[in-house]
């Protein structure tokens, strides 16, 4: 029964897309309303709750002292995890991270890492011995599509101005005391599109993702760089389509960035 209803909804979405329309009345290149609420978890060094339409994502950062990689003895590092909680959708299951959760986390990670948004040298405590490792995890609380962008926004808002814990003389963290904040040098914003009925749709909902032939995400910075790209799902894009999405990505990214700075 359920899948029959879903099939109907999906075919409706394809039909509308062909006419240049969307089921929620948005323009094809229109993002849903979104909001950022920062510092929602006191135990975290930084945290943010992002609402994008009906999609809700919560992110938090914990900083730990770790040993640097041998090939970069003076650099700290980050690790990003994504989890779609069974709380967020009847389709989500608990257990080991699924392939799509891993993909989302890695795309979000690449956008932030490759844009050099974080000064990893600044996260060095003692060269060759101790560096900061930032563990950022985001959780989907309600899933209605485009976890990529909601997750990326939550991650960025969380890193920006996150607190760095204070260390004692043995490089052990002093609980609930802080010494400085993380300053992002760039704000790389991820923008995700899907292709439905031959049309490009920005910020897809759950049903639009179900109807999608192909998906594309691009991470753009304020100084004109692209920091990460990812094409997903079976279908394909033409070069013209990709170029269109890159341009849109820069345009939408600039708007999103303003909100992240304000948050």
């Amino acid at each position: 029964m359920r899948s029959t209803v879903l099939d109907y909804d999906v075919s409706k979405i394809v039909e509308l897309a062909r006419q240049g329309k969307r089921i929620d009345g948005r323009a094809l290149d229109q993002m849903r309303e979104f909001s950022i609420q920062k510092n929602i978890a006191e135990n975290a060094e930084g945290s943010a709750l992002v609402t994008l339409g009906k999609t809700k994502v919560i992110a938090g950062l914990k900083m730990e002292v770790g040993t640097p990689y041998p090939d970069s003895p003076d650099k700290g590092s980050i690790s990003i995890g994504a989890e779609a909680l069974p709380l967020a959708h009847s389709e989500y299951e608990s257990g080991r991270p699924s392939m799509s959760e891993i993909e989302i986390a890695r795309v979000v990670d690449r956008g932030i890492r490759e844009s050099k948004a974080i000064d990893f040298n600044g996260l060095c405590i003692k060269e060759g011995e101790a560096v900061w490792v930032g563990y950022l995890d985001f959780y989907v609380l309600n899933g209605d599509g485009n976890i990529f962008d909601a997750g990326a926004i939550s991650a960025l808002a969380t890193f920006n101005n996150a607190k760095i814990p204070k260390l004692n003389e043995n490089n052990k963290i002093v609980k609930h005391e802080y010494n400085g904040t993380i300053k992002l040098e760039r704000l790389p914003v991820l923008t995700t599109f899907v292709k439905v009925g031959g049309k490009i749709l920005l910020d897809p909902t759950y049903l639009e993702e179900k109807a999608a032939e192909a998906r594309y995400s691009v991470s753009t910075t304020e100084d004109g760089y692209m920091a990460a790209m990812q094409k997903g799902i079976g279908g394909s894009f033409t070069v013209d389509e990709v170029n269109y999405m890159i341009e849109k990505g820069f345009e939408v990214g600039a708007e999103v960035r303003k909100k992240i700075i304000k948050s």
Binding site: I40, N43, K54, Y139
Partner: protein
């Protein structure tokens, strides 16, 4: 841990707790029902620094099939903590503590729901802790029962919970982390069906005399009943008539002049009066 360096507090002398509360006072508690649109029922709860989300899905087909019970619904509760919800990062994935808490929470809720009405199904109850400071399991249980009610589940009663115990030489209600770390700490998560006072969750660690228990259980039940009032308020807030249904009432009143005052909220009443004039 640097427990020994700390000054020993004595609540018998201070008469007040470290955070200024009275001995039988719970931390500020607020609940909002209906926060996760995808879920059949949900709630967000803040209790002191604890912040938890609860969502209910079902009754739905019990999967895998062998978990189904032909006589009743199975409640599958899952308690999880976000990696950033504790001072020292928690590794993702459930640990043994999470598993045990999931089990006792599900069992506590089972008594409240008329599970026999839904044979062969499962009711998924998911709770996620996003910030914590002692007492997260009772916070989760309190939120989960509001989520079940929000899902329209037939229930005997809500489940209302609190922590009780002992810290710094005094019996206290709703211990926070500093009190849980006291040298003489006793922590007892307790949950009741507030109308019948049946106990549906009870755990304890620490050393306690029977006499102390006798006193604690009384204050505990009283505290649970305060929690119950806040749970009821959250549900009343959620099921207050929305704009759409108010409009419907207005139309009906215009049509037939039905006496709807008894079932509608104050705001709707005002509107109805206007229409009547």
């Amino acid at each position: 841990m640097s427990k020994n360096e700390e000054v020993v507090v004595d609540y018998k002398k201070t008469k007040k707790r470290l955070d200024g509360r009275k001995m039988d006072e719970i931390r500020p508690l607020s609940i909002k029902a209906g926060v996760i649109p995808n879920a059949d029922g949900s709630a967000y709860l803040e209790w002191g620094q604890n912040k938890v989300y609860a969502a209910v899905y079902g009754p739905r087909e019990a999967l895998p099939k062998h978990t189904a019970n032909p006589l009743r619904a199975v409640i599958k509760a899952e308690y999880r903590m976000a990696s950033f919800s504790v001072p020292e990062r928690k590794r993702p994935g459930p640990n043994r503590r999470d598993m045990e808490i999931s089990k006792v929470l599900g069992e506590a809720l089972e008594r409240a729901v008329f599970v026999e009405q839904f044979p062969n199904t499962e009711i998924g109850v998911y709770v996620e802790v996003v910030d914590s400071n002692a007492g997260s399991r009772v916070a989760c249980l309190t939120a989960a029962s509001v989520a079940l009610a929000d899902a329209g589940m037939p229930m005997r009663d809500l489940v209302s919970a609190t922590g009780i115990g002992k810290a710094f030489n005094e019996l206290v209600v709703d211990l926070d982390k500093a009190e849980e770390d006291a040298p003489d700490a006793v922590d007892i998560p307790i949950a009741i069906l507030p109308n019948s006072e049946e106990i549906v969750l009870l755990q304890m660690d620490g050393l306690l005399t029977k006499k102390e228990w006798d006193q604690l259980v009384k204050t505990g039940i009283a505290a649970c009943k305060k929690v119950y009032e806040i749970q009821k308020k959250a549900l009343q807030e959620k099921f207050k008539l929305g704009e759409a249904s108010e409009k419907l009432v207005e139309e009906k009143v215009g049509e037939k002049k039905v006496n709807t005052e008894k079932v509608v909220s104050k705001e709707a009443n005002k509107k109805i009066k206007k229409v009547k004039k």
